[in-house]
């Protein structure tokens, strides 16, 4: 076979440039996230100057009013936006990978709907678990996210757990939980109905440091588990048969991934309500930037999700003067035109 004069170093240089690009994208994303965080903390009914925010965060300035706003309200909210965005982006990224489907996300495949139903159950039927309502809602929605995930996997497994069957199972569960939720809303008192609707809108306003810690612990646990499987997940993108041929235990990998998706989505939805779109879109943006190598795609999906939700949080406090629009509404309203623009201008088709 004739050998084109390919430079010995060209391939390793190519590999290095791919790795450099992953790092550059992540670094840029984290920097953007930091800026967004500061603006998010500064934005609100009382507009704070960035310098005051920085001063308070670094404990340099001692203004009790600013400190109170920053430390008890704005910082936890801003951090929760980032953590929830990261959890949703990451779970969407895993889901699109293991189902090999561009429409997969916790929201489109019924996991968020399951969590929403769990929350509505507490609101309408009262406390079903022995906890104060402030915790009963998140716990039940977390449990139902897990139940929905198990349901998707269970229905999908009835015929060999192929990606197509899992997606169909997810769509079926989405409709099931939506119908059950509608039934609860139909039966609910006007007060409960209002509470359900508001919960479903998604809101960051109930953020606390404790909730932030819980989300962070789940995120912190998910990442190393996923990175261990990063190459196997990448192989899965080439199709089930090829992944198996490379020695991947596809069924067990999917099961592990579903468990992680369940925890990530559950914890995200439990504390801020159902927020669509971020989990669907963040992985697409990440894929355009770093490609399918999951070592880059998964962290980039998390960073993109975090950035999207952080920017949405700023927007939710800025679009209507004096009011905070529910975050779930803002993400889609602002995100959709941005996403359509992004998808139509990219020359490379990834699906």
């Amino acid at each position: 076979m004739h050998h084109v004069g390919s430079d010995e170093g060209a391939i390793s240089a190519l590999y290095t440039s791919l790795a450099d690009r992953r790092r550059a994208v992540l670094l840029f994303g984290v920097c953007a996230l930091f800026m967004s965080l500061l603006v998010d903390v500064a934005t609100g009914p009382a507009l704070l100057p960035i310098t005051a925010v920085v001063g308070s965060v670094l404990r340099l300035a001692k203004d009790p009013t600013v400190d109170a706003i920053v430390w008890t309200i704005r910082l936890p909210t801003a951090f929760v936006a980032i953590a929830v965005g990261a959890a949703l982006g990451l779970s969407g990224g895993i889901m699109q990978t293991i189902l090999n489907n561009p429409l997969a996300s916790s929201y489109t495949l019924g996991v968020s709907a399951g969590a929403g139903f769990g929350a509505a159950l507490v609101i309408v039927l009262g406390v079903v678990v022995p906890l104060p309502e402030a915790w009963a809602i998140p716990v039940m929605s977390f449990l139902f996210a897990g139940l929905a995930c198990a349901g998707v996997y269970g229905i999908g497994s009835l015929r060999g757990a192929s990606p197509e069957m899992l997606v169909l199972g997810g769509i079926a569960l989405l409709f099931l939980f939506q119908a059950l939720l509608a039934l609860l809303q139909f039966a609910a008192s006007p007060e409960a109905l209002q509470q359900i609707v508001f919960w479903l809108f998604g809101s960051l306003q109930k953020a606390t440091w404790a909730k932030l810690w819980i989300i962070s612990i789940v995120l912190g646990g998910a990442f190393p588990l996923l990175l261990v499987d990063a190459w196997r997940l990448t192989a899965l993108k080439l199709g089930d048969d090829r992944a198996r041929g490379l020695g991947v235990d596809v069924a067990r990998l999917r099961l592990r991934a579903f468990a992680i998706i369940s925890a990530l989505t559950g914890v995200a939805v439990a504390f801020v309500g159902t927020i669509g779109f971020v989990g669907l879109v963040a992985p697409h943006i990440a894929r355009m930037l770093v490609g399918e190598d999951q070592r880059g795609l998964l962290p980039a999906s998390a960073v993109c999700g975090a950035l999207l939700l952080s920017l949405a949080s700023i927007a939710s406090k800025s679009v209507l003067p004096g009011a905070i629009v529910p975050i779930g509404i803002v993400t889609s309203l602002i995100g959709v035109p941005f996403f359509v623009w992004l998808v139509t201008r990219s020359r490379r088709a990834f699906w």
């Binding site: 190519l14 990063a230 990448t234 192989a235 993108k237 199709g239 490379l246 020695g247 490609g291 490379r348």
Partner: protein, 253 residues
């Protein structure tokens, strides 16, 4: 290491894809797997690769493990946003960690150079032609540094020059590295030219096993493929088969 197969059967529901197949693939030999569509060729290769359930025995002699198999499936369609280099690296899945060792990148480079596709390394899989993708997945199978090489129609989308080049590489590596190679082929002339041994399948059963020139004859072509063929010999003594026309109701052997 040899692959010893005894009374191997594979079923898909009520369909019997392989029915009591016994054969041995020897190290250092290219075994061409021949037969009409649906005769069980892919099932044989998938069973060895551990992708389908089977009854019977498949014994990988020597120190063979899952990692010593390099498998290239028939279907190479994908739009995954991976570069050719990343796809070839995936062939070394068992060795890859979060940090990819320079040795693995170097091995990928060697394989890409071997198949003359180093120039494609930075391209995305979705941007390649079907034939180019076939070369990439062959490279992926070779990157595993396999002892057993299973190729399911590796040249079906290639132009005639690349067909010859790829089969030459497969034969050379098989002989140099003493690989046990099974190649599913449709082109009988390619099989006759590059394979050391050939096995002919019909309805899930082995109906011929031996040197390609010995098992490709007029009777078998009529009975197995239902084709009347003309036979000739090249000046250097190679068998050339030219299918002439379909013939009536092939009888079972």
């Amino acid at each position: 290491m040899s692959v010893d197969i005894q009374t191997l059967s594979v079923r898909y529901g009520a369909t019997r894809a392989l029915d009591g197949v016994t054969l041995t693939a020897k190290p250092g030999e290219v075994l061409a797997v021949l037969g009409p569509n649906g005769s069980g060729k892919s099932s044989l290769v998938k069973a060895i690769a551990g992708l389908v359930r089977y009854t019977g025995q498949i014994v990988l002699a020597g120190s063979a493990t899952r990692d010593s198999i390099g498998y290239m499936p028939q279907d190479t369609a994908t739009r995954a946003a991976l570069t050719v280099l990343e796809a070839v690296l995936l062939g070394r899945l068992g060795q890859l960690g979060l940090r990819v060792k320079p040795a693995d990148v170097e091995l990928a480079r060697q394989v890409l150079t071997e198949l003359d596709i180093a120039a494609l390394a930075g391209r995305y899989l979705g941007e390649l032609s079907g034939g180019q993708r076939q070369l990439v997945f062959l490279a992926q199978a070779l990157a595993a540094e396999p002892k057993i090489l299973l190729l399911d129609e590796p040249i079906s989308a290639l132009d005639i020059r690349h067909q010859l080049e790829v089969m030459e590489v497969v034969r050379r590596l098989t002989h140099e590295r003493v690989l046990t190679t099974l190649v599913i082929l449709h082109d009988l002339n390619i099989a006759a030219r590059f394979a050391d041994q050939a096995v002919l399948f019909h309805g899930g059963k082995v109906v011929g096993l031996g040197a390609p020139a010995d098992i490709i004859d007029a009777l078998r072509l009529a009975q197995v493929f239902g084709v009347e063929a003309a036979f000739s010999t090249t000046p250097d003594g190679r068998l050339v088969v030219t299918p002439v026309r379909p013939c009536r109701s092939p009888k079972a052997l």
